[in-house]
Structures are given as C-alpha cells and as structure tokens.
C-alpha cells in the first residue's frame, strides 16, 4: 500500500540528512509503529506520505502512484485518501467539534445528508457525542485528540497517519486514543503511527520500525520498544 524506495532527504546544506536510504513497505490493514529518538526522521517520513515534504532521492508510492509526481492541483484529492492525526491536534479553533469533523467531509465534497449521518457516528466512535458543540478550547487534550481522530476517519480513508498522537496526553487519555486507533485498524484501516511511548508499543504488540539518524535499524513484525 505504501512503499518507500531507497528514500533520502538531505537538508539545505546538502550534507546532513533527515532520511538515509529508507526502504520499507506497509501492507493494507497493517498497524505500523515507528519509534526512535527525536531527530531520527520519523516525522519527515510521515510528511513524505502526506506529500508535505519531498525526498531528495528515491520515491514514495501510494499503491502504484508516485506521491511526489502528483501535480499540485491534484494534491487535495490525494490527501483525502489519508486521515492525519498530530501531536498538537491541529483543530480549527473557531469551529466546534462537530464542525471540525464536518469540514473534512465538506472539503471532500460529501453531501449534507452524508455529513448529518456520518459525523455523529464518528463522534460516537470516539466517545464524544456529548461534546459535539464544544469549541476546541473547551475540550481536554484527550478529547481534542479524539476529535482529531474522528475527523481523520470520517471520510473512511485508506490509511491513517498519526504523528505522536499521544505525545501531549496523560496516561488515561493515551490509553483511550490507542484503543480507538486499534479499533479503527480492526475495522480495516491501515494505521501508521510514530511514538515515543514504550507502554503504547509494548501493549499494542504490532509491527515496529525503529529508526536512528534517518535510517531504519530494526523492523519487527511483533515488536517491542527497544532503543
């Protein structure tokens, strides 16, 4: 589904590298965690998938599509296939939880009927039916992240890309968010997640890719957090 073919990313000085000769594949319905110290290249790797960053060498494929050959005008359409979740939630502050989720559907060109039906479902899935009309500043960190996840899944994307989704959360909220991601994965959506959280990785017991200085140093099918 996602294929990194010998991808390197050099910084502007041309010497230091964020990614070095990275090659790996993610299959449909997989739950892949990417671990590594800060600066190991985890976020750069995710940015390549959502076409926010370009490789200096190599190619990144989404199915048979070379992501970085997509013309700029067609990028929004490509991004609609991917749900994104970030450490800082990235919610629209002047929209309510409901409107944040509805916005992703509106941007996708979904009908009003679909929005009316699917947004409450997504909110129910993340357990926030009662906070639909709250603005982000009225929600806790865990609730914000759950809204972000609801937004990411509402268009039924092929893949969810989550960059440190539990980075700003307390242990209980972390547990809830991971359970939701696991549930989404069980329903058939591919999940790629970066994290620093040893507990999360060990509890998940899924595939773990370990990165160091821009390289993949370990790729275990039922991995543990080893650094």
């Amino acid at each position: 589904m996602i294929y990194f073919d010998n991808v390197s990313k050099l910084y502007n000085d041309g010497r230091s590298a964020a990614l070095q000769e990275v090659t790996f594949q993610v299959d449909p319905k997989e739950f892949v965690s990417i671990v590594g110290h800060s600066g190991a290249g985890k976020t750069t790797l995710l940015k390549m998938i959502i076409a926010e960053d370009k490789p200096s060498h190599g190619q990144v494929f989404f199915e048979s599509l070379d992501i970085h050959q997509i013309p700029r005008g067609k990028l929004p359409r490509y991004r609609r296939k991917i749900g994104t979740v970030f450490q800082d939630f990235k919610l629209l502050s002047n929209k309510t939880a409901y409107e944040n989720i509805a916005f992703a559907m509106e941007a996708n060109g979904r009908s009003d009927g679909e929005i009316l039906e699917n947004v409450p479902q997504a909110l129910a899935l993340v357990g926030l039916d009662d906070k639909a009309w709250n603005f982000p500043n009225e929600l806790s960190g865990g609730e914000k992240q759950r809204v972000a996840i609801a937004r990411a899944i509402v268009n039924q994307p092929d893949i969810i890309v989550a960059d440190e989704p539990t980075g700003n959360l307390d242990p209980i909220a972390t547990y809830e968010v991971v359970q939701i991601l696991r549930k989404i994965n069980d329903l058939g959506t591919t999940v790629i997640m970066t994290t620093h959280n040893k507990g999360v990785i060990d509890e998940l017991g899924r595939r773990v890719i370990t990165m160091e200085e821009g390289r993949i140093i370990r790729d275990d099918a039922n991995g543990k957090y080893i650094l």
Partner: protein, 305 residues
Amino acid sequence: MLTGIKRVAKAGFIGFWRNAYVTSSSVFVITVALFVIGSTMFIDQLLTVSLKNLQAKVDMNVYFVPSAPQAEIDAIRNAVAALPDVASVTLTSREEALSKYRQKYQNNEVSMQALAELDDNPMGADLAIQANQTSQYESIARFLEEKIEQTSPQTVIADVNYNENRPAIDTLTKIIEAVEQTSLIVMLVLILAAIMITFNTIRLAIYTAREEISIMRLVGASNMFIRGPFMLQGAMYGILAGLITLLIFYPAMVWLGPHTETFFEFNIFSYFVSNFAYIFGVLLGSGIVLGLISSILAVARYLRT
C-alpha cells in the same frame, strides 16, 4: 457546485461572526481608508466648484465708443463668440448701459443732473467675454488687438480692460494650477497610504489564520474551498466599512452643508444627497475591492507553499 458555494458562504459568515477581533479591526481600517477616499471626493468637488465660481468672476470687457456702428459691434461680437477659447459673450447695448447707469446712480443728484444736461446717450455698448479657462484670456486679448489693427479702431473700440486685469488674472491662473496639482498629489498619497494600511492589516489578520489554512490543506480542502470564505469575509468587511463610512459622512455633511454654502457658495450636503447613489457605489465598491483583493493576496501566500 451549488453545495460548494453554499458551504463557502456559510464558512465565510461564520468566520466573519466568530473572529470578532479580526473582523472589527479589519472593518475599522477599511472604514478609515474609505473615509479618506470619500473625503478626497468631497474636497475635490469643493475645490472644483469654488475654482469654477472664481473663474466665472473673471471676465474681460470690450468698451465700444458711443458712436460705434451697430454692424461693427455685431461683427466683433460674432467673431469673438466664434473663438474656441470663449465660453460666453454678453453684449450690453448703449440703451441698457444707460439704464444700468441710471439705476446705479439714481440717488446721486449730481450724476443725474449731468446726464440730463446731455442731449445724447453718452454710454457706449460693451462686450463681456468669459473664457473657458483663465489662461485663455491672453489669446483672446491678442485676437482683439489684431482686430483693432485690421479695422479702423479708433472709431469703434474705446478700451479693452484686459491689460488692467492682467496681473490679477495671471496670479489667479497660477494659484488655480498650483491648488489643482497639490491637491491631486496630496490625495493620491493619502489614498495610497490608506490602501497600503488596509492591505497590511488584512494580511496580518490572515497571518493569524495561517495555521488554520495549513490544517484545511491537510484534510484535503481544495485551494478554492480554503480561499472562498476568506474572500467572502474580505468583501463583507468592505460592505460593512462602506456602510459605516456613509453613516459617519451623513451627519458630517448635514453640519458642513450651511458652512460650505457660505464659504464656497456650494452646499456639500445637497451634493451628498443628489449624488448619493454615486457616492454609495464608490464607497461600497472601493470597500469590497479593497477587502477582496487584500484577502486574495494574503491567502495566496499560504496556499503557494
């Protein structure tokens, strides 16, 4: 397509309503800009009208000798009226001149007695000439001089008062030109400054929304879907600012009307009322264009990357 427009409109209205601080500061700045533009219009109108009034007061007179034959007078009048620089020519006949004199000095016994002593009407006819512009009097004067040389002058024209009025006319011409040029430059500078301030304020307002724009892009919103609500908000800032500016101008004009009437012989309030549709159009139109263009330019920056 229709759904898209509906959603953009809804998002625009929500953004306008919920970002109260951004909305009020943008509307305030556009209002100031429109106030400058409107004031410029009114000052320009005042200047134009008062200069026109002033120019109308300047004229040139050709005095004929009392014995001048009517045919000659008519010939000169027609020749002057045919000049392209001449706006109007008014001929006062000997009889009219006499009755004007009588009217003017009716209480002056000496003058009336002197007049009664005479057998004949001592007044000559005269021709009042108005040029389109004060600078054109000189060429008209030259034409008359040539005319005097061609015909037997002494028998027809007694005097042309251009040479006496010349310094006054020249000074006035210079003042008018200088005022027109200076006011044009000052107004252009003011309008340019107002536009620049508006652009920058809205750019700053949208700068605060750059994070929002990046989020919209991440969830797959097309550029038009992102830009649309901002454009609508910009246009709404303009409309609201236009209306506020008109509301400010109205009482100002009511108050200024009588004052301008006395000072410039031109009631600015009457002008405001009779040209309301035009002023409304210019202010609202400028507001919308200002708001719209600033929004498009500001958002474009964050959509490019």
